[in-house]
Amino acid sequence: MQLEALYVAQPALTAQAPILAIAVPLIGACAAALAPSGRAGWMISVVAAMVSAWMALAVAGEVMREGVILYQLGGFAPPAGIALRVDAMGALIALLIGAVGTLAAVFSGHSLAAEVRPEKHTLFQAGFLLAQAGMVGLVYTGDAFNAFVFLEVSSIGTYALVAAGERRDRRALPAAFNYLIMGTIGATFYVIGVGFLYGATGTLNMADMAARLGTLDQNAAVQAGFAFIVAGLGVKAAMFPLHGWLPGAYAHGPSLISLFLAATATKAAIYLMARFLFEVFPDGAAFGDMFLQWVLAPLGAAAVIVCSLQAVFARELRRMIAFSSVAQVGFIFLGFSLANASGLSAALFYMTAHGLMKAAMFMALGGLAISIGARRLEDFAGVAREAPWTAVAFGIGAASLVGTPLTMGFLAKWQIMEAALAGGRIWIFAVMAAGSVLTLVYVGRIIEVMFFREPAPGAPRAKESPVGVLVPLLILAGLSLWFGIDASLPQQLAQAGAASLFEVRP
């Protein structure tokens, strides 16, 4: 699939597309907050998310044609002004956010009705759109401090949105509180790190920072800046062992939020971390490589093994999938730790694949949650019979998670493993293989219960998801399949993004 085929360029609009991808959901959020009814809020949400996704598509097309896009805000050239700087990598992640955001917005129509009190719907939609705008901003911005602002834009609302899951499961409240504490510490660490870098370079623009860091000797402040930024973003990205907030927040929050966060939030943070690792500290030589090899790779491996095992032994279905998310983040970091273009490209591809598959899985569970309020794995016995389409979509997501051939997840795992072999890291390769088997174990458990077990007598029966849920759900599942057969769209962007970062890093 070629980008050009998807998007017919309109120069006037394309020039403004990066900012519109952020501003439209922002204004949409305000409009949703003012909406007279939940239904109106839902429609605003869908339209705004869709426009944002469309703009992200325009940006991606432009990036493929022109290379990196710079957009100066306020008409001031960086470093004085803030600029958006979109490369292929950012375009890809923003596209993921836009696509999942749009489908999630469509899905929200039914899921909110089931999970959140009616008078809160408009606010909920507003918060959701803010989160989307914040993440796109986080991905597009070329300014280190501006990234913090967008990190908070995307977070502050979501803390409350997670907590709004209390209507169904009151554990959402302490989970959200925990998320807030950890998230804020992470963001503050990030600010401290940016402070150090600002103190050392006198600039906040990431490109300028990179240029100036290149001329500096290694000093303690720069190293600390690096450490605090990585730790701070590590919290946001659920890097093992800073992932403690994630299982609770994903497991107990409302379906819409679990789905959206799982698909995008950690990705945006990981993306930002990648930019610092490979762009701002281009040849942080000894320091950067040492970090990648001796910190990031072991932590990634630990995440893969430990959290996959936790998922194997988890009793609640959503918790299982949440633990699986942490493990998958580990896979992505393993790709990063290879510190070469093919590893980074593979990791980026993996991020996209994981975003799509997790969104499908959480959305399917959300669709089921409309009819059964089940949490434990056993409660899902035999849902494939009652809700075949939903179950099939879940199954496709799960297949992609395992890395079944012909799904996107397979190509993602394939690429990282191939890159690991090419880089001579046999142990990373082995960890990936072991992690895949563990994934197979817990996914197998779920599939067995859902598809091959009889429902317990007297248990609440699941119903097929309504059309409003099924359509976005099947689109998500379909994307996981489509990109498993023709991966050129994400692959082009991932490769171009990785290549552009490694040009500066021979």
Binding site: V149, E152, R171, P174, T184
Partner: protein, 149 residues
Amino acid sequence: MSWIATHFNYVVVVILMMAGLFIVFSSGNLIKRMIGLALFQSSTALFYISFGKVSGGTAAITLDAQGAEGQALAAQLDPAYVAQFGVEGVVYSNPLPHVLILTAIVVGVATLAVGLAIAVRVRESYGTVESDEIDAVSRVAAEQAEPAP
């Protein structure tokens, strides 16, 4: 100038950060943890502002160097210093960290409000704001949810 004098501010910032982090990690009371978080966040303000200070500088509100205020300020400083580091005859402190910290303070109060609101809801739902008691309640609920063996 000894190291402690040139880096005194930073040491204090670190102490305040540690105090804030310690409260967040050690306390089980949700409200107290929010207070600790606020302390932690505000210490970053001190951090940024500290390295934006310029010796002998004044607030970044443009002055007329020839005016009374400008003259008075210049009188306290070495003219060569003013010539090198001043802008049109006046030495200012760095405005950029101020702007950043304005943002950070606002983010801090937003976080505090949302965090406390969640804490209030926790109290309403669980009857307590102590983590240990919340955990105990959750555990009991989880055990009840399990079917009898």
